[in-house]
Every structure is written in structure tokens, then in C-alpha cells.
Assembly symmetry: C2
Homo-oligomer: 544 residues x 2
């Protein structure tokens, strides 16, 4: 069945204003795509529900320049402690563990940020409203505080009691604490739902926590959650007019704080693709990669979740092992995509660095050339729905010919990127991105000087005194805000990303708007044209 | 002449709602002292004027938890570049220099943060209003952008031209740039004020910057500033009823971005003293330390400023040397107080660390025991007008007797601190601190568990697994949010602050509410009582 092609005036209807729906709406509003947001609740989430932001989700909010208030007001959990009682021992601490060890995860923010789902939704709603789109107004919520002498209240704590089952404690903002109390394991079967009153659950929790006292000063939220794992068989209809994201696509336990994180990243994946297709800049087949990529992650998630629930019931050793095995995935940093239209995995390319197609950029520090500011390179370019083409050239002078040839091709109006950039310019002229007053401090136009489709970025180990801006090809001069000196950290960005390069070598990395590496290759001095061919080929496969 | 003693219901009238007045008002409102703010302008500063926040000022705003929006929206200048033209050479870069080298300054934020004075005032006004006190509403301002091909636009740039004199470039938020153009040196005397039109100054600037082009897209602010240095002979009247702060106290050139910084720190120094005296917790003589301390800094400032202006005229070498010699002072980190009521300099005490009475705390990273969060210790305790008593004990178990004896004395209701803490409790019950909704996320009550006068803090190299909270004396248990593990950085906080300590040693540091070290001493295992005497003696000299 044929459908008329969408255009940049196509209205996208977002059904559901939870984290996933709002993330989608927020991105689309920024990209300039008209949005209507429908939700059956009269207000945003007032309390309870998903609220653990994983390291990758924190990064995503930083990319959107929306993390500040969440970081200021949320609670950061860096470690997890394991407690146990057996028939012969009272409740005692079995061990403590760092939640996201650097050598396993390598996240710039190695903690869970606990912030009420309403706070997360609020931040997205504010941004949407600041860009002139109205959504349901937020509502206020009230506090509760537990009173206990249990000493590990401000770690994440897993308690396994021989008599009562398992409890998971999560510290919360405003002096609150959340308890997950397991209701099924005492008699080996699910507890009757009518029995699961707050009083019953509190009595169970008190019993499990003895000899520590445990009283509730007030209760903000009580929920009864039946654990089940399922993934929708399709994430879109046959015509790719309807897409599902978030809870509608996958359902699982709340134990590992994955739901809202995965849901928002569904939307983060979908939004930029919708933008490019609606604007007529990408082929409709680009949208098929949404299901391919996100259903794979959903499947990974429920597989992990089932193992995680089992491990939680088996106790500390199993749980610790399960964490170790899955910690990259839990953090969100490890969610990876398979080979496909957007992910060009070359089995013959081996680099000495961490980057690989289908995975996220590894965090690295560099110095911005133009103003000598040390910045996190993975965050420095704001989210404008653009690809990023990073050119890593340890020695600018030795690679002058390479850069000249490469840049000449990219700016050629007859090249694929040249032609598509002209179309993009026209499209964004007609339908500009959604603006907010705060954009004045972000200065988005710094990143669209060469193209609205991509930002070009040069990373070099050359010293600031080795060259002047005017020595560079003009499209690199125009990219002066994304020219980085690779001198800000003991281990350089280049070494981290692709390993050591010689002075006559270059690496080129195509990074997707959502921060995933699309493709990656190494080149030598004389291969500037070949490198440009390779870049063009990547974009030709999905641009119109 | 005798005056009735003030009490906590005394209204303080703040005249002038610039940075200094607003900083004073903001602090007093937080402390719970009634304030009336008078200003002859109908609106807050809309443009121009002081706007370089030095590293120490950034720290101060972080202590107030007010830095976020300034950091997000301001421009950070990390380096300074020097340009020159002579009769034989065209304009060329002579050198580049890091502005605040770590080994000279050691600031946690080693840059100038450029944010319009109206933004700084706005942040203070918002906080004052959030605590229920109304001030003049803010107004909007418009933008301008210079158009130039000069390559160092985004560094701070000092240009010395043989024909025209000196120009200082400062990058600004929202793509703006500020130029300071010297008008006196061409003919060796001051230029007639009527000649100093924007057109005249722009022509001078264009001439100095040749061969680079220089055009103005728009002009946001043009000012004509006559450089003069003066310091008021007194900062208060004889009855200590009237105090002057900021521009009213000291006047100097705008070149080194010192004015607003020094002004706000005048207020930061005065506010906590007024609070304690108004509440009847400190002797009136405490207020005399305001002039002693801040007039000394003002004198240091104009001495430096005169040298700095001379160096600016003499050229790059002189200016670079002047920076090197004064960079700690310029950053604000080096403003120090002499021996006095609040500053107990013991010439016989030599430690291997950086701290000394009369100077600020050096930045250091530690791990908060209770929730395993890595924190900046100098910022972690929010500004509540309290002293901080840091007890550094590398080995908790070896120092058990010391801690027991020391803590027993501090909590004794008959001790000076015990008695004064009871009075403080009564005072804050009757006249609480000014609250804002955002306090819910700061949880101020965590820091007043032992006393409203001071926060007690333990810093230890013992491992988390070596002890439990319940092993500690009760006032340390109550101070669980300020119990720090000294394991967060390669160089420990203890080593940084006081040098290596043996396992049977302790250091005690009395830190004033404004972050200055008041006194500092080292003790051994059996000296818990003596250490308590020493602490009591410090507070006895100025508490009632």
C-alpha cells in the first residue's frame, strides 16, 4: 500500500506523555517537526514509577543540555551493599561493591541518578514549552521519610532474608527512601493481590530488617508490580506510519532500573530518523532501522532481566556475578546495534582503540582550539539532529594534502553530501528548528556552518602554536568551534578512540545523531580522495 | 556613644542593589535576618559594567549553590594571548599563556567566567525572591556582534600597538566581544572627554588591529572609564551601625576584572558576622574585623592595580611578569587576612600542607561516607552561616580515645560551644533561616544536627570496612553527612591540607563561615581534652 511521502510539515502524533513520549516530542520539537502530544492522564507523573537514570541516560540529558537540575536535585548512588540473614546469623552486611567500575563501564558519570519520574518529565516538558509547544501542566507532590537506624540507608542495598524474602533499598531525593519488597518467595508462589496492602508489606519489611528498627513517617507512593517479561513482536506497522516505543514495546521487572532509560533511548533513536525522513532528506527505509535496532536492545534487556531476577533471588554471590557480567548493559553504555544500514562493521579493521561501529562514543577530554576550554568531546556538539564526521589527524602539517583533498570533496556541491547539504539548507530555511531563548547561550549556528546534515570536527595532537586557523581548508576554518587539540588528558582522545596513529595517518569516524558510531576507518597521507569516497558511500546508502 | 544591642529581628538596610549589595542581602536573607534593599535605579544592571567572575568568586557561587546557570550560560576564558605591532612589524602574536596555572593558583575552576553583571545580579535576586523577599524586577537586554577575521577572538587578548596604544579583548556570552581601548597613551596625556565618542574609539581600535578587519554589527554598551585608585579610609562608622562594601569602599581600573569580585567578597565577609551579632551569639567587636580584613584586601588590590596598569602599558613581558607575580591574588584565591581576632597565626606551627590561618581552604576531593559520593570537600557543606570544625584522623581505630575525649567536651552543655549552641538553637527556633523550595534538595538540617553554630566533620584515611558509624562518638554519628573517606584522589585531602599524619595524630581546623581557615593545630592520641580546650579558646574570643 502506497502512502504519500511525508514532508517537514507532517505532524507527528505522540501518544503517551511519559518519559518515552516526552523524549520523542522534545527531540522532534527541537528538530522543527510539528508535534501533537496526547496523554490520558490529566497531569504528569506525580510520584513513584521509574526513576533511576543510568549513566548513558545522564549523558543523553547532558547532550540535550537538560541535565543540570536533575544533577542538582537528584541523588547519586555510587555503590551497592549486600545484606543477608540466615537461620544462624542475624542480618549482616555481606559486602559492598562499586556500582559502575571504571574498567568495566568507563562512563563519565558512573552512578545511578535517582530523580523522580515527574522531575524527568518536568525537564522535558519545560524544554518543549520553551520552544513554543504546549503540553499538560505539571503538578506538585509531597514527601515521606522513613525512620530507621539501618546504617546503609544512603547506598543502594540488596537484603536477602532467610525468613521473608528479598528487599531492595534505593535512596531518594528529599531524604526519601524506596523499598522493593518481594512478595512471592516465602511460599514459593505469588501472593494474593488483595493481601498486598501497605500494612502487610511494611510488616514483611520490618521482619526482614530486624534487628534494625524500621518505621514510616509517611508514604509517598505504594505500588504493586507483577514481574513479567515481554517484547512486542513489531515496533512499527507495515507502512511505517505507526511506531511504538517504551513500555508499549517492552515490559520487565523494575529491579535494575532499566525501563524509563531504555524507553527514552527508543525515542532518542527514532526522533532523528523521523526528522530526516519527514524533511525528505533520507529514504523511508531509514525508519526500518528503528525496529531492527531497538527491538534487539529490548530482547537483550528481557534476557538480562530474567537472569537478574533469578540472581536476585539466589543471593549476593549470584547477584554480584550478574552485575559484573551485565554492568555495561545496565549502565546503558553497553546497548549496541548489529550490522545494518547505519552500522558498518568491518571485520577486517582492527584498531588499538575503544570505538567500534554499533557502539557509543567513548568519553574523552580535549581542548577546544578556539577558546582553550577543556571539554568532553562526546558532549560538546549540541544535539541538532546532525551526524558528526570526526577527522583525527595527529599531525596537521604532515597531513596537509590529505585534508585538502578530503575537504575539497566534501564541499563540492556535486558530491552526495554537498547536494544533500544544499537540500538540508533549504529545508531548515523553510522549516527551522524549534528555538528556545536558552539557545542564545548554545549558539547552534556554530555547528551548522558547513552543513545542517553534519558537523565536521578535526581532532589533532598538533600544538596550538604549530598552525593557524588560516592554514586549514576553508570548511575546517568554518568548523572552528569543533576543532579540538588532543592535549587535555593523560591518555589522548585519539589513543582512546582508535589507538596510536602515525604522523602520516588519519582516522575518520562517522557518528550518528544519537551518538552511535556508524563507521570508522584509517587512512594515510595520499588517500584523501579515497577517504571522501568512503564517507560518501556511507551517507549514500540512506540519504535520498 | 552607646547603642541598644541588635537582636535577630533587627532590620538591615542594604543601600545599592549591585553585586555587593545583593550578595549581602542574599546571605542575610538566608541567615534569617530581615533585610530592606534600596537602589536608585528602576531596574537591575541591564548591560556592560563588571562581569568577569574570578575562580574564587565561582567557588563562592558554588558554595551558595547558585553557580549552575552562570556556568551554563557564561563564557570561560582559560588563556590569554599577547599581540604587538612595532614600527617594523605588523600586528603579530607574541605569545600565549594559561591564565591560572595550577601550580601557581590551584583553583578548582581555573578560568574567568564571563557573565554579564545583570546575570549575576539576576541569580542573586532570584534566590532572594525564592526566600520571600522582594527586590526590583529584572529587565531584558539585546545583543551585538563584532565581525572580524582576527583569529584569537575567543581568548582573552592583550594587544599593544606602536601607533595607537593598548587594547584588551574579552570574549563574551552570546557571541559578543568586549574591547577595552586605551585613550591616554598616544599623546602621553588623557584624551578630552568630548572626543571619546564610539566612532573615535572604533577608529582607534581599527587602526590598532590592522591588517585584520574589524567592524561592529551592533553595540550593546559603550562606556568611558577614567582610571583612578582609591580606598575609603573607613569601612564602618564608629558605632558599627553603618558599613560600606564594594565600589563605595574601593575604586580602581577595570582591566583585571577585580571590582565586582572583591565587592561581593566584602559582603560575603560582612554578612555572617552581622548575623551572629544580630542574633546575640557573637560580641559586637566581631564586626570590627570586617574593616580590618576587607580594607587590607582593598589596599592590596589598588597596589596591585597600579602595577597592573603600568605593566599593561609597558607591554607583553612586563604584563606576563605582573600576571605571574599576582595571579593568585587576581584569581581571588590569594586574598588573605592578617593575624587578628578570627585568624590565629601560630608562627611555631609548621605543617607539610597548604592550609594556613587567614587563607582559604585548598580544594580537595573526598568520598562522602554515607552515600559513597565523591565530593569537593571545600564545597560540600552548604552555606548556612556556620563555622566548620574539621577533624582529620588518618586512623580512626588508633585515635578512638582522642575522639571520645574531644567529642565529649564539645557536646558538654557547660562548655562554651555547648552553651552557645543551645543559645543558637533557641535563636534559630525563634527566627529561622530564610527558606526556599530548593532547600528540600539541599537538606540543610543534615548540617545542624550537632549545632547551628558549627558543623563537625571527620576526615579519615580508614577504609569504609574498618569501622561502622555506631563505633563513633554520638556527635560524630549525628554528623554522618560530613564524615568523609580520604580516598578520592591520588593526593589525599589530609596530605594536601596538613601534610602526612601518623596513625596516632590528628589535625583540627577551625574554618570560618566564609571558608577562611581561622586556626589549625596538630595533636596526638592522648590530647583529646587539650584539643577541645584549644577549640573552645578560639570561639571564646568572639562568641558572647
Amino acid at each position: 500500500m502506497a502512502h504519500p511521502s511525508p514532508d517537514a510539515s507532517t505532524t507527528v502524533v505522540v501518544v503517551g506523555a511519559g518519559p518515552s513520549g516526552l523524549m520523542l516530542a522534545c527531540n522532534l520539537v527541537r528538530y522543527g517537526i510539528p508535534v501533537v502530544i496526547l496523554d490520558d492522564r490529566p497531569d504528569k507523573t506525580s510520584t513513584g514509577k521509574a526513576d533511576g537514570m543510568q549513566p548513558k541516560t545522564i549523558e543523553t540529558f547532558k547532550q540535550l543540555r537538560l541535565a543540570d537540575s536533575l544533577l542538582r536535585n537528584g541523588v547519586r548512588v555510587y555503590d551497592i551493599s549486600f545484606w543477608e540473614s540466615t537461620e544462624n546469623t542475624t542480618l549482616h552486611r555481606k559486602g559492598r561493591q562499586i556500582h559502575y567500575p571504571d574498567h568495566l563501564v568507563g562512563a563519565a558519570d558512573p552512578y545511578i541518578l535517582l530523580a523522580h519520574q515527574g522531575m524527568i518529565e518536568g525537564v522535558l516538558i519545560e524544554d518543549i514549552e520553551a520552544r513554543g509547544v504546549r503540553v499538560t501542566r505539571n503538578s506538585r507532590f509531597i514527601a515521606w521519610v522513613i525512620d530507621t537506624d539501618f546504617p546503609d540507608l544512603w547506598s543502594k542495598v540488596a537484603v536477602r532474608s532467610h525468613s521473608v524474602g528479598s528487599i531492595l533499598w534505593i535512596p531518594r531525593e528529599r531524604n526519601m527512601t524506596r523499598l522493593y519488597v518481594e512478595l512471592s518467595s516465602t511460599e514459593g508462589e505469588r501472593v494474593d493481590k488483595t493481601k498486598a496492602t501497605p500494612e502487610y508489606v511494611m510488616a514483611l519489611a520490618r521482619k526482614a530488617m530486624a534487628p534494625f528498627k524500621l518505621e514510616w513517617k509517611s508514604i509517598e507512593w505504594f505500588g504493586n508490580y507483577v514481574v513479567g517479561q515481554r517484547v512486542a513482536s513489531h515496533f512499527n506497522d507495515d507502512d511505517m506510519q505507526i511506531f511504538i516505543a517504551g513500555d508499549a514495546g517492552h515490559c520487565h521487572s523494575a529491579l535494575a532500573a532499566q525501563g524509563a532509560n531504555t524507553s527514552m533511548h527508543d525515542s532518542f533513536n527514532l526522533a532523528w530518523k523521523l526528522n530526516l525522513v519527514c524533511r525528505g532528506l533520507a529514504k523511508r527505509s531509514l525508519l526500518a532501522t528503528y525496529e531492527e535496532e531497538r527491538r534487539k536492545v529490548a530482547m537483550d534487556l528481557i534476557r538480562f532481566d530474567a537472569e537478574h531476577c533469578n540472581a536476585f533471588e539466589q543471593g549476593e554471590v549470584a547477584l554480584a556475578k550478574n552485575f559484573d557480567d551485565n554492568i555495561r548493559f545496565i549502565s546503558g553504555v553497553g546497548a549496541e546495534y548489529s550490522s545494518g544500514l547505519l552500522t558498518k562493521i568491518q571485520s577486517d579493521l582492527v584498531t588499538g582503540g575503544a570505538l567500534r561501529p554499533g557502539a557509543l562514543l567513548a568519553p574523552a577530554k580535549v581542548t577546544r582550539y578556539i577558546d582553550a576550554n577543556p571539554v568532553d568531546i562526546q558532549l560538546d556538539i549540541p544535539m541538532l539532529g546532525q551526524f558528526r564526521i570526526y577527522v583525527l589527524v595527529p599531525d596537521i602539517l604532515s597531513m596537509k594534502n590529505f585534508l585538502d583533498a578530503f575537504c575539497a570533496r566534501l564541499k563540492n556541491p556535486k558530491s552526495i553530501l554537498g547536494r544533500e547539504s544544499a537540500l538540508a539548507q533549504q529545508s531548515y530555511n523553510e522549516t527551522p528548528r524549534g528555538k528556545a531563548a536558552s539557545d542564545e547561550y548554545v549558539q547552534p549556528q556554530r555547528y551548522t556552518t558547513v552543513s545542517h546534515l553534519f558537523t565536521l570536527s578535526l581532532v589533532t595532537k598538533s600544538s596550538k602554536s604549530d598552525f593557524e586557523l588560516s592554514d586549514l581548508p576553508d570548511i575546517l576554518q568554518q568548523s572552528r568551534w569543533t576543532l579540538y587539540l588532543d592535549n587535555a588528558d593523560e591518555k589522548s582522545c585519539t589513543d582512546k578512540w582508535v589507538g596510536k596513529l602515525n604522523s602520516n595517518e588519519a582516522a575518520i569516524i562517522n557518528v550518528r545523531p544519537d551518538g552511535y558510531v556508524g563507521s570508522l576507518s584509517l587512512w594515510t597521507e595520499k588517500e584523501g580522495d579515497k577517504a571522501a569516497d568512503w564517507v560518501e558511500e556511507y551517507y549514500a546508502s540512506f540519504l535520498t
